[in-house]
């Protein structure tokens, strides 16, 4: 059975590659985004002399991770029916933690529709349209690769 560490390892690798290309200043945080996705939800903490993040620093990593995970999960389930249901509780919990409670998940349908949806969320986060379109395509690609890797190991 696929362990949680193996699952995370796949996503760290794919997210790091994506960030290296699209948001290099965040590439070092790929591990943090995958290890603790809930830390990037909601408002940032009020710390001494710190600045809460919400609305100031829109980090690309958490948005891109959600895209990769959604696409990968769809591919994984497509290749191996029931694979996600059969995965360990830890893996399923982590997949759920990537998304905020009650948050509408990315609906993975056709490539065009999915890429357009990812691009829209990036544009909402302040990205310009060209860059968002290019990054969305990469998200699709990385998600596909991650899904296939996960399916191959289960």
């Amino acid at each position: 059975m696929l362990t949680l560490d193996e699952t995370k390892g796949v996503f760290v690798e794919k997210l790091e590659e994506l960030l290296d290309a699209e948001a290099p200043q965040e590439a070092d945080s790929a591990g943090a985004y995958v290890e603790s996705p809930e830390s990037f939800q909601g408002h940032g903490k009020e710390r001494i002399a710190g600045v809460p993040g919400a609305g100031i620093v829109e980090l690309a990593g958490p948005i891109l991770l959600k895209g990769i995970v959604a696409v990968a999960a769809a591919v994984w389930a497509q290749i191996k029916d029931q694979a996600i249901e059969d995965a360990s509780t830890a893996v399923r919990d982590w997949l759920a933690r990537v998304f905020r409670k009650g948050e509408a998940r990315l609906s993975v349908t056709t490539k065009e529709e999915t890429v357009a949806a990812i691009a829209t969320s990036l544009i909402r986060a302040g990205w310009d349209a060209d860059k968002a379109g290019r990054a969305a395509k990469r998200v699709w690609q990385q998600g596909q690769e991650a899904g296939r890797r996960l399916a191959a190991t289960t």
Binding site: S39, I48, G55
Partner: protein, 521 residues
């Protein structure tokens, strides 16, 4: 604990802040015990009265310890996540930052970790054992490889060098414990008062609630002043360690820009919390500690803390000894005046004298040979302003209540008002004069820290001069008169003139350069 853990001499100036926080917490707990004891004493007899207070304190300590344990677990979880998520690429970059931080702080085992988080923050999680600086992902994304990162790391290295992070966090939990104890106390007090009944009991509760609120504000104010002073000191360390102010300044500037971009207004509660924990960035950029100042806000907050810390035991003793309630079943005023509980007030007042002296001593040392008279007197004025303003306000309120009630007794006359309004400024002026004088003596023997004997001797000298001044004025102005106002005026003017003259003399001597600024080395 008195802040002796502050490792280096340049951080010794923070000691009075820590001491005031601890004293405030101690007085608050004593007040809780005294008041809870007083409320039960008539029904339950001797020894039993303090039991409810002890139980409440024990409960609050248990809750505080639980929170502390939870925070420690959260910290170790965060560290585990940070270590797990450290990729090879990140490790290589962080190692460079670690080396830099170790060199700046001279702490060999200092670690730096990148923790998940979208707030742009860097902070020291531990400064004593296995010192640790934590940076959030958002912070790293913004500042990696920039000169600002060096400025920020130098600032954090300053906190590591101070070795006071655990001390500071401990205080934070104790403030929570005291707050929790008071919160637990109110329902218990209410129950007891309902049991005892009567409008006087309601007045007691009002006093208890007032004392509670005042205690909380005084401790929070002192804690906030300490927080600001720590940040300023760490900024000064960073500038000295890097050899220039530019990188620290740019870092602060960028943080300020980010804050301005925040847009949405925080809720009033959040805004108040932010005001307490976040010193003004524009002001920090002027590096006030390097110019021998610490800022009006810190001095005012400290003055408020001093007044609050003194008022808490005073009110609680007044209440506990039955002076405020004046009940038939309670002790008579004469018994109340002899109560050993007054020793608490006396001890608190003496401890406060020592704290204020140390504060003035370290401020003067930081100012070194640039000590200006207005600056020195300004510090005195700002320290005393909250005490004076609040005392006058309190007197006005009490006087109005007295005049509004038939049984309240006489209102304050002109003599009473003269003494009431001038007493506190006079006390503060005497303190300033004594501190200045003591510093001259201590400077002559090359002392590197304030000492009790010289402080006491200087205080005695100023008091003797005050008595002489009063006598001379009385003989000159009021010899043939039996006017109480004239006598009181002679007393005030005599002490004021003597303290001012001695303070000015001491100030001039200090500026002659005999006093060595150990910071400059």
């Amino acid at each position: 604990m008195d802040g002796k853990s502050l490792a280096t001499d340049q951080y010794a100036g923070l000691r009075p802040f820590y001491q005031l926080c601890w004293l405030g917490l101690g007085c608050s707990l004593i007040a809780l015990l005294l008041i809870s004891g007083n409320l039960q004493s008539r029904r339950l007899g001797p020894f039993v009265p303090f039991l409810p207070g002890v139980v409440i304190v024990a409960l609050a300590v248990s809750v505080g310890l639980l929170f502390r344990k939870k925070a420690r677990t959260a910290q170790s979880d965060m560290e585990a996540v940070a270590r797990r998520s450290e990729t090879d690429q990140l490790r290589r970059k962080l190692d460079i930052v670690r080396d830099k931080a170790r060199r700046l702080s001279n702490v060999g085992n200092l670690d730096v970790l990148l923790v998940p988080g979208r707030d742009v923050s860097a902070w020291v999680a531990r400064s004593r054992h296995r010192a640790l600086i934590q940076l959030t992902s958002a912070f790293w994304s913004l500042y990696q490889g920039s000169p600002e990162l060096e400025g920020a790391m130098a600032h954090e290295a300053g906190h590591v060098v101070a070795r006071d992070v655990e001390h500071f966090h401990g205080l934070y939990y104790l403030v929570g414990i005291v707050g929790g104890a008071w919160t637990l106390f109110v329902p218990v007090a209410l129950g007891v008062l309902v049991f005892l009944g009567g409008s006087e009991a309601a007045l007691s509760l009002l006093t208890v609630a007032g004392t509670m609120g005042f205690s909380a504000m005084a401790i929070a104010g002192t804690w906030s002043a300490l927080l600001v002073a720590r940040e300023l000191q760490a900024d000064a360390f960073a500038v000295n360690a890097l050899g220039d102010a530019e990188r620290v300044k740019t870092f602060l500037q960028r943080q300020q820009e980010l804050r301005l971009k925040e847009g949405a207004r925080p809720s009033p509660l959040k805004a108040a919390w932010r005001w307490l924990i976040q010193p003004d960035l524009a002001w920090r950029m002027s590096f006030p500690v390097l110019h021998g100042t610490i800022g009006a806000r810190v001095e005012l907050m400290l003055g408020f803390g001093v007044f609050g810390v003194l008022m808490v035991p005073l009110w609680s003793v007044l209440l506990a000894t039955g002076v405020l309630e004046n009940k038939a079943a309670g002790p008579t005023p004469s018994q109340a005046q002899l109560s050993p509980a007054w020793l608490v007030v006396l001890a608190a007042a003496l401890a406060l004298l020592w704290i204020v002296y140390q504060f003035l001593w370290y401020r003067n040392r930081s100012a070194g040979r640039d000590l200006r008279l207005l600056h020195s007197l300004g510090t005195w004025a700002r320290l005393s302003l909250p005490s004076v303003a609040l005392s006058v306000l309190l007197l006005l309120v009490l006087n109005s209540i007295r005049s509004a009630t038939a049984e309240g007794g006489a209102k304050l006359g002109p003599v009473g008002w003269l003494l009431a309004v001038t007493a506190l400024p006079l006390i503060w002026l005497v303190l300033w004069a004594a501190a200045t004088l003591a510093m001259v003596w201590e400077g002559r023997r090359g002392a590197t820290r304030p000492g009790v004997p010289h402080a006491l001797a200087a205080l005695a000298a100023v008091l003797v001069a005050g008595v002489v001044g009063t006598t001379v004025l009385f003989m000159l102005v009021d010899r043939d008169s039996s006017s109480k106002l004239g006598t009181a005026g002679s007393f005030v003017a005599g002490f004021f003139a003597a303290a001012l003259a001695m303070g000015l003399w001491g100030h001039r001597k200090l500026n002659e350069g005999r006093y060595v600024d150990v910071n400059s080395g």
